[in-house]
Symmetry: C2
Amino acid sequence: MKNAIGRDIPAHISGINNIRLYEGAGVYKPEKSGAGKKLRVGKPHTNKILQSIDEAIEKTGLKDGQTISFHHHLRNGDYVMKMVVERIAAKGIKNITIAASSLSPCHDFLIDYIKDGTVTALESSGLRGQLGKYLTRHPEALQKPTIIRSHGGRARAIEAGELHIDVAFMAAPTCDRQGNATGRIGKSAFGSMGYAMIDAAYADNVVLITDNLVDEPVHPYSIPQTQVDYIVPVEEIGDPAGIASGAIRITKSPTQLLIAKYAAEVMEKTGILKEGFSMQLGSGGASLAAAKFIREKMEAQNITGSFGIGGVTGIFSEMLKDGLFKACYDAQTFDTTAVQSLAENPNHIEISASFYANPWNAGPIVNDLDVVILSATEVDLDFNVNVITDSNGVCMGASGGHSDTAAGAALTIIVMPLIRGRLPMIRDHVQNVVTPGNDVDVIITERGIAINPKRTDLIEKLSNSGLPIMKIEKLQQMAYDFVGKPDEVQLSDADKDIVAVVEYRDGSILDVIRKPLV
Amino acid sequence: MKNAIGRDIPAHISGINNIRLYEGAGVYKPEKSGAGKKLRVGKPHTNKILQSIDEAIEKTGLKDGQTISFHHHLRNGDYVMKMVVERIAAKGIKNITIAASSLSPCHDFLIDYIKDGTVTALESSGLRGQLGKYLTRHPEALQKPTIIRSHGGRARAIEAGELHIDVAFMAAPTCDRQGNATGRIGKSAFGSMGYAMIDAAYADNVVLITDNLVDEPVHPYSIPQTQVDYIVPVEEIGDPAGIASGAIRITKSPTQLLIAKYAAEVMEKTGILKEGFSMQLGSGGASLAAAKFIREKMEAQNITGSFGIGGVTGIFSEMLKDGLFKACYDAQTFDTTAVQSLAENPNHIEISASFYANPWNAGPIVNDLDVVILSATEVDLDFNVNVITDSNGVCMGASGGHSDTAAGAALTIIVMPLIRGRLPMIRDHVQNVVTPGNDVDVIITERGIAINPKRTDLIEKLSNSGLPIMKIEKLQQMAYDFVGKPDEVQLSDADKDIVAVVEYRDGSILDVIRKPLV
């Protein structure tokens, strides 16, 4: 079957129920109600503190075949998933689905527990590191393809009851004895708990794992005590070096700086860069670097923006501090400067993944975005974007908020080098689609800028702008002229070789990721 | 049928489905999941602002037989319910259920719309004013008895799907164009939006009605944009004089001061008044006055409490400001001093009604209370408490958080005068029960203190305390010795004369309120 962007989707995929093909942004209208929360009877003066993860596994009644969840706010410094999966394996519990908001190289240990049958399915924003390589080569190691969801799509899936979590094991940098938890403070502080909020609100059992249990009431809290069943104190929930990087700096790469400069000029010349505008910058080098040029223009023209959204870095939190924006909505805090900003600046607002990007509520904040600047691993002539697999077809990235912000923003800009490692980045067809071309407006490279033909308004505004505007086919040819047309990576078309299913944010199937043949 | 406290409950009550008898606190365990939220498709760059209440009624598709909800944070200054009900009536929509978190004398206008069939059912925390009198005398004016719920019970009923709201019309003192709303600021600021939060989270349609629509992002927000379908700007949502009183002062009544002093002494002598203790004070004169004596003892003994819960008054927010407590959880803000405290003091924490008192989540904050001091209109020999009807059997009060805090607190103290207007306040049986005697530990009057016989620990601690401890029967007799035994108000036993059904916080039927015969 072909979906609305012409991707071939098998009618049946082992382990994936209710396949619904992607029809376009906002086309499918859910008629059902969302998931109901499990009702509990909160007993007065209960002690929620447990002695060990083993005790938590026992009290929650976790058993074969259930789904457990983790958030990825500890990023590559996460100790919690390993702690928990080790104890589950030690108890001989098998056939567990891990629904993580994302996975990092620190989760490579999962390979061992996939091999021994403890873990038999994954749902995540992406696959990286050795785990990504392993599953790309051995999709049969899991009982079903990994389900890839955007951050908004995951919030939607949980709230709609499509992703049911039996036990959420949530790392908490600080919590009180009732379970009110925050990521703002504590030795493992990571900032916003935006992804964790949804798991805590909907899981049948919620276990907080903390290395800073305090007696005094914790507030503001990101997870309220009303959602917390148990608390397990441990020595350390993560490695600070892996949790948040030091202050992220603007790139020094001349290519990325040129691309970033173009992005700011596109914003200016399309009229988006005006009083009260809102924006999000992706975490790639060129998107972050755009902040430098946007800032210069805002200061020169005395423009104050309304709000920014993040994945927040110090680069943005400095703009907030300096009054260039009124507010910053934060579902995930990337560096130590931004973590401090969230703790100190009242205009730095922590939000849940649902507030950020869930397409099935009355209005996530991405819906109010004027502009988003995003990266890509490759794009194609239809403006489709891949951010999951590398040029060899190996899973190494994550969906994140890419398709969410692209769908919400009035102007979606993709920034990327035209050529990476002697490979052209504009393909006839991307290996797999994370963001449909319909939601992408402008692709900016160091050698030229392509505008989605459906955006005739932008073509008109930019045609005499002095910017190197050209058809995407011409931009592709320019790359070919430099490095030649590359061979296509050959992908298996066997259904058993489907590595992952890429859900669009509304739960429909946008694409499948297939195993490369070589 | 008789329930666990021996109250006679008809097996069938017209209009009340699924009658479940009260079995005791925490006995009934729900097996079902809660309500699922209605899923929406939030369209990017939608304009939520409507021109009028009429337009909101049309857009939400409100029709005959549906349920609409209101919060009572505007208290006796509320303009919003009248605005909305007038327009519903003008459109000829009939048979509406009004589910308000409470009702005040400013809602007496409802009598007209009950008479003309616009409104045919009420669900509320209580009934007051002319409306209370009218419905006590004319229960047949509605199609079914009014359902009385505690604040926690209402949150539970909504979250459990027992109270389904078609359209929530929520007054918002300030909101932005996306619908992020707060009660902290604006000309009609009332403080916490704790009751409104639950309606907004679960109603099929959410309409904000505001007299302060602002362009800049509103934060912290009590209601998030993700829950808001429409916004109607109006001139005024309420009368400031009725919304919040000026700073509430400690009573000067010697009787109430004596009762309050006893309450503080009971706390001290039972060992509750110690480092890190938590408390809630009801809004009656003697309970609020207890703060004065508790404060004196805390200062003298250098005790710092953990947290307080409110219904918050300036009396408590001053204690918070002065460092006597670490935090204050606020579901409802009573006076202007407390409104200012919520806006300015970061330790003054806004909470939802569910966080406050919903018995069916993983732990509302009432479950962590050491002590609560509450008022009563009358009590009985079984320690049952009535706070709804006056001595003539007329509805004039509200359930509020009475039974919620009594169930949660380790020590529940009832303060009340032994005699009011020459009537003794300790009855053989209260006219109706809002809080079961099982959850009541101590009853304090100006002439004596009765301890629930099941609390042998308290009897032991207080027996040689010098306080006037006595059996409740003796306290009752003391009142009779002064003013004689009063005649019982004769109540109709006809099922058609049931004015209201009092739900316990878990949704079971605790009692029914019957029409007085004279």
